[in-house]
Amino acid sequence: MDAYLPYVLCLVLFCIGIYAVISKRNIIKIIIGVIIAEYAVNLFLILVAYKAGGRSPIFSRTQEILPEAMVDPLPHALVLTSIVIGLATTAFLIALAVRLYGKYGTFDISRMRELRG
């Protein structure tokens, strides 16, 4: 059971994020929900790469290290890309929130009702 605990916690974190996006009325809280869900996915990427007792993925001249004994380096590279994309999305959402506040004078999404049907 212990081995699965990090994955379960990761899932819980993701669900908290989605819950915030669905149920909150405040734009800023919705954005925070997106960020939480995003971090849960990034965390999951790192968890997938982890290997119990794995070494850092550097080959050495003095001793023989098999690739199987190493932590998988690829997800670490991927998670950097994913974080940068997340930054762009977050920055864009916050810029939108600022503009929306300027138009409506509120962060409450239930009071923004230009679009229907």
Partner: protein, 497 residues
């Protein structure tokens, strides 16, 4: 000619164009010139790719010099770019629409300030879409999906009015969640197969039964890419986002973005990667049928022209998904041909709605009327596009719907075929409503001195109208084998249908 070393240009050209536009924005005419030149360049290249490819041939480009490392591990490490029949087909669709939209925007975007911002975002979105089409690597696919999506969020908000910002916020939040689901699916696939390369993944997955994890990945991908494609339970963002964008961008979003990011990837992933499992076929058919119905029926009661067209997009994507879900070679042919036609007539209709807005400053069907005499070219092209959408015989849209319905009958899905026929009739109804209220009837007083739109806009409208009129010719065997046949072959080969 297209060789391994020229494939990256499909992404590199628009990307370079986007950044150079920002750098050189002060020089007059630069944004227009770059926008048009880059898109014509990628379009010509994609046509070359279609002409050059034989059936079953693939051109592969390995990015980065990973040679030594690759031999140690015995698998492909770097990113692969692949052009095969399906990719070449989609590249032609995307880049043709992008080119015509760029030409149209030269005149249309003068209504907005800061044209350079528009063109650089537009080219970024194009780079993202071309990247999605040519990549052969799952994580790279996710990155390109994000590039195209983020550029499109910004373009939806381009007018920065209340509506635009609200629509963009809705779209951006839902799009981000969809991207997270996609990323989660990609990670699970990676942990399951140990590779990100699609060809390797196919080989590894083919040797296995479907474990429970894969079903979870199916669900994640269907939800993620289904949201990008605006399939019905995930469609809520589209009717707000597409009408709020400037007309050329509505044409891009409805015409190609939902197909490159949604339909194409669903076809690629579920046919080529997973070998088209039976459960997915059922889900695609069901979602397709529901989308068709909901989109068409809601479109009937819209009075905003662009909103009507947006709901119609949901309905037509349902037709495409139905064809893909049936999964026989004939149905796939119908689906891809309908994808091509829908790109053409929906872009044309959105550009027409933009032309009406440009001349008459309204999108409300109740306020229009009698524009036919004042705007003959807009009127003519709208009618051609509308007839193609409604599926009236000589026009292209008729043939693709006919193929899908015949394929449904052949595969003995009688109820689905009947449902598709019924929804085609509803389509005719809402199309007639749009044409009747916009162009026929008495000319209103306030429109007494409106004029036809400027030259560049007319050129785009006329070219698209001609494609809608003569698109049915693509079914002539010689043309079909070279263009649609290649794409169908890619999807049928691996799934072994």
């Amino acid at each position: 000619m297209i060789t391994a070393s020229t494939i990256p240009l499909f992404v590199a050209l628009p990307l370079a164009g986007a950044f150079l536009t920002v750098l050189l924005k002060r020089i007059k005419g630069i944004p227009d010139t770059f926008g048009v030149m880059v898109t014509i360049g990628t379009f010509v290249m994609s046509v070359f790719a279609v002409i050059q490819l034989e059936i079953g041939q693939r051109i592969i480009c390995n990015i980065g010099n990973w040679g030594g490392f690759q031999e140690v591990l015995g698998k492909i490490v770097g990113i692969q770019l692949v052009v095969d029949g399906l990719t070449a087909f989609m590249l032609v669709v995307v880049n043709l629409i992008a080119f015509l939209v760029a030409v149209y925007s030269v005149n249309y975007m003068t209504r907005y300030t800061e044209k350079w911002q528009f063109y650089s975002l537009f080219l970024l979105m194009l780079a993202g879409m071309n990247g999605v089409l040519i990549t052969g690597d799952m994580f790279n696919l996710f990155v390109f999906v994000e590039i195209a999506s983020i550029a499109s969020y910004a373009l939806v908000a381009f007018g920065t009015g209340k509506r635009e910002l609200e629509a963009s916020f809705k779209y951006a939040v839902m799009g981000s969640i969809a991207s997270l689901l996609i990323l989660l699916g990609v990670i699970l696939l990676y942990s399951n197969t140990g590779t990100l390369n699609m060809a390797d993944m196919t080989r590894i997955l083919a040797g296995r039964d479907h474990p429970a994890l894969l079903y979870f990945v199916f669900a994640l991908f269907l939800a993620g890419f289904g949201l990008k494609a605006a399939l019905v339970p995930f469609h809520a963002w589209l009717p707000d986002a597409h009408p709020s964008a400037p007309a050329p961008i509505s044409a891009m979003l409805s015409g190609v973005l939902i197909k490159a990011l949604g339909v194409y990837v669903i076809a690629r992933v579920f046919y080529n990667l997973f070998g088209f499992p039976h459960e997915v076929s059922l889900i695609l058919m069901t979602l397709g049928a529901i989308s068709m119905g909901v989109g068409a029926l809601v479109a009937l009661r819209q009075w905003d022209l662009k909103r009507l067209l947006a709901y119609s997009s949901i309905s037509q994507v349902g037709f495409i998904m139905l064809g893909l879900g049936i999964g026989t070679p004939l149905a796939i042919l119908g689906a891809l041909f309908h994808l091509f036609n829908h790109s053409m007539f929906k872009s044309l209709l959105f550009l027409d709605s933009g032309a009406i807005e440009y001349a008459a400053h309204t999108r409300d069907l109740k306020e229009m009327g009698g524009l036919a005499k004042k705007m003959p070219i807009t009127n003519g092209s709208t009618i051609i596009g509308a007839m193609s959408l409604a599926g009236i015989p000589p026009f292209a849209g008729f043939w693709s719907k006919l193929i899908i319905i015949v394929a449904a009958v052949q595969a003995s899905h009688m109820k689905l075929a009947a449902w598709a026929v019924l929804m085609s009739i509803v389509t005719i109804a809402y199309v007639l409503k749009a044409v009747r209220f916009a162009f026929l009837g008495e000319l209103k007083k306030q429109f007494a001195n409106i004029t036809e739109v400027p030259a560049f806009m007319r050129v785009s409208l006329i070219i698209l109208a001609l494609v809608c009129l003569f698109g049915g010719l693509l079914l002539i065997p010689d043309l079909r084998n070279g263009f649609l046949g290649q794409a169908v072959e890619v999807l049928t080969r691996v799934s072994g249908v």
